[in-house]
């Protein structure tokens, strides 16, 4: 893997390189550490080890242990430290090792990070990007497969990104870190090894824009993170049966691209939203409500939700039974077409 990163490296002047998502994030961090000497990368095991997913591999060696460093094992202090660093002029990019271990830091994230700019009437901005390996799909231990996007999106003062491929992973991270607002950047860990061409040093689309991954006429599949890939698989299968599905990658979970959603669904008149998080009060409800609010007269059927069940994220063999399957999405498509 180091080797692959070096391959990308030698292509430094080439605008497009093929990278895995994990390499694309690594590359974005390197570019950010290079372009802005205020950027700091820290967290549990991100320094010497280079992160449990090697996302920060080589960064400490390249930028030194003042810019890229390990912390003790305490998530709340990691985020609290980020607040203090931001108040001292730094641009912190902390990592919390896994989704489920963001919970011990939620107080600092919600009550401090998300509010400090507001509380100080703009005097103390929080240009913090929390990198959070997220979502399931790798049959990991408990607390290593959680989807916290609804909580973050519900928190005023936070922005939330969730890329689905290496190119977006790269550009969304640039945007997140360059932004003076706090961003929770959710990395779909099951897609870390997915490879795609990445356009380097390009600004990318503005914060809050979604992306039509595949256009279609009969219904819109809406997803983010690893579920985008699943929806593309579904669309390919459906196409064999003559069903032409649009796939919309939300990418930004806050702000949500309501206009992009409306543009797609007012054309297709049918929508299915797919996510890994449990159903009740998941972000799918917000997406469905936004679509319904904006496309009420156009909708031919209620927006369908295909999500994780309202159960704690399960262990190994049960994981494929919990996550939205291709069949479940296809059945939802069928339901909306036949409504």
């Amino acid at each position: 893997m180091t080797e692959l990163i070096e391959r990308a490296d030698t292509a430094a002047d080439t605008p497009v390189v093929e990278l895995s998502m994990q390499q694309a994030i690594n590359r974005a961090l390197r570019d950010l550490l290079t372009e802005d000497s205020d950027v700091l990368v820290f967290g549990e095991d991100v320094g010497t080890l280079g992160g449990v997913f090697r996302v920060t591999d080589g960064l400490q060696k390249e930028f030194g242990d003042k810019r890229v460093f390990d912390t003790p094992l305490a998530e709340s202090a990691i985020m609290g430290m980020a607040v203090g660093l931001a108040m001292n002029g730094w641009r912190p990019v902390p990592e919390l090792q896994f989704d489920g271990f963001a919970y011990p830091a939620i107080d600092q994230i919600v009550n401090q990070v998300a509010r400090m700019n507001y509380r100080t009437r703009g005097a103390a901005p929080m240009p913090i990007t929390l990198r959070l390996p997220s979502f399931g799909g790798i049959q990991a231990p408990e607390h290593h497969g959680e989807s916290l996007e609804a909580l973050f999106a519900h928190t005023p003062g936070l922005k939330v990104a969730a890329p689905s491929d290496p190119a977006d992973a790269y550009s969304l991270l640039l945007q997140s870190v360059r932004s003076d607002d706090p961003v929770v950047y959710m990395e779909p860990k099951s897609r870390y090894w997915d490879r795609k061409p990445v356009q380097l040093r390009e600004p990318g689309d503005p914060i809050g824009t979604s992306r039509v991954v595949r256009s279609g006429r009969h219904a819109t599949l809406i997803a983010w993170g690893a579920m985008v890939h699943r929806c593309v698989q579904v669309a390919e299968l459906a196409a064999e049966d003559g069903v032409d599905l649009e796939v919309l990658d939300l990418r930004w979970l806050k702000p949500i691209d309501a206009a992009g959603l409306a543009a797609s669904v007012s054309r297709t008149r049918r929508a299915v939203v797919v996510h890994e998080a449990p159903l009740t009060a998941g972000l799918g409800a917000e997406v469905a409500t936004l679509v319904t609010e904006n496309c009420f007269r156009d909708l031919a059927a209620p927006v369908q939700r295909v999500t994780g069940f309202d159960v704690p994220y399960p262990a190994g063999p049960l994981e494929p039974q919990y996550l939205p399957t291709i069949d479940r999405v296809l059945l939802a498509v069928q339901r909306t077409l036949e409504y």
Binding site: S76, M81, N88, R121
Partner: protein, 345 residues
């Protein structure tokens, strides 16, 4: 219980301290006392929805804040550091605005004051001080962060995590615990296992000192030493100032339900403002005429702040939306429009 209680100890001395320093401490403590009195009155008049008094803690607050350099240090307060703010030079009308509930964090400029926003999460700001201090060292600067927290706050996980981080990173931070012996209705005995916050310091490999929190000179010296140590790059320390919350927890509280006023009365008797006044006279650092003049000026300053905060304009409703983000979103702009159309009218 902390080992050396101050209550019975009688007089304090400031003979060994610079006269102008001790006069400045007195001035700020006197002003804070008067402003506290005004604030309690404002609450009774309904101008403040509630107020948390600092009475009896003026020495702990003013003397610790005075040991810092407001040009390069940074203070991370809780919700009960009015006297610290005053001594540190914070614009006090803006500070008191938090008690009129005009804006939760206060209306002073946090970055210009180098005094963090009023923070109501017990323990929450302590890790911020560590982050700030780590950032200071990373840049090679010599500022020191001081985190205020209470005896109750010492129970929170965040305070432990912060102390451990500070120790590991050798961060220039002073953990200043105002042990006023009560966390709302819970006394030290049922709050602080082992009886003292200072005693925790050793477990993190840092020095800890317990100081008479009603002795302004002692607090000043203990804090100055911790600050100097941090400034020299020798890392964090804990200062525990033993004092007493003589007033209710807040104006909404009724301490008669949980404590005997006799204890509070003993501590009211050991008034840090009066103690310092007497020590100044005893040391010959000031005479009655000077002090009368200071007292008069303090009263006027307290009135000025009182009038300022009482007449400060209420924030405009649009402020709801202004500072949520640095770069606002379309959705929030839409909501602001809804507010204009449906609420503002």
């Amino acid at each position: 219980m902390p080992t050396h209680e101050s209550a019975g100890r009688g007089a304090i001395t400031v003979d060994h301290l610079p006269p102008d320093l001790t006069r400045a401490l007195y001035r700020d403590m006197r002003t804070a006392r008067d402003l506290d009195t005004e604030a309690i009155a404002l609450q009774r008049q309904g101008v403040f929805p509630a107020y948390v008094s600092v009475r009896g803690q003026e020495a702990a607050q003013v003397a610790s804040a005075s040991a810092l350099d407001p040009a390069r240090d940074f203070v991370f307060p809780t919700y009960r550091e009015m006297a610290s703010a005053l001594a540190y030079g914070v614009e006090m009308v803006g500070y008191m605005a938090t008690h009129r509930a005009l804006w939760h964090g206060g209306l002073y400029d946090v970055m210009a004051s180098r005094f963090g926003a009023v923070n109501a999460v017990v323990g929450g700001p302590v890790p911020h001080a560590v982050g700030w201090a780590v950032g200071e060292r990373l840049r090679g600067d010599d500022g020191v962060a001081l985190a205020y927290f209470g005896d109750g706050a010492s129970s929170e996980g965040d305070v432990h995590e912060a102390m451990n981080f500070a120790g590991v990173f050798g961060a220039p931070v002073v953990f200043f615990c105002q042990n006023n012996q009560w966390a709302l209705s819970v006394p030290n005995e049922r709050q602080v296992a082992g009886g003292s916050v200072r005693a925790r310091a050793e477990g993190y490999g840092m020095p800890g000192v317990l100081v008479d929190g009603n002795d302004a000179g002692a607090v000043y010296e203990a804090t100055a030493e911790a600050v100097a140590r941090a400034r020299r790059g020798e890392g964090p320390s804990v200062v525990e100032a033993l004092t007493y919350r003589v007033e209710p927890h807040s104006t909404s509280d009724d301490p008669g339900r949980y404590r005997d006023d006799a204890e509070a009365a003993r501590w009211r008797d050991r008034d840090p403002v009066r103690l310092l006044r007497e020590a100044l006279l005893a040391a010959g650092h000031a005479d009655e005429a000077h002090l009368a003049e200071v007292d008069a000026r303090a009263a006027r300053e307290a009135e000025r702040v009182r009038d300022g905060v009482a007449t400060a304009p209420e924030p405009d409703g649009s402020d709801l939306f202004t500072h949520v983000f640095r770069e606002t979103t379309e959705e929030l702009t839409r909501q602001r429009r809804t507010w204009q159309e449906e609420v503002e009218l």
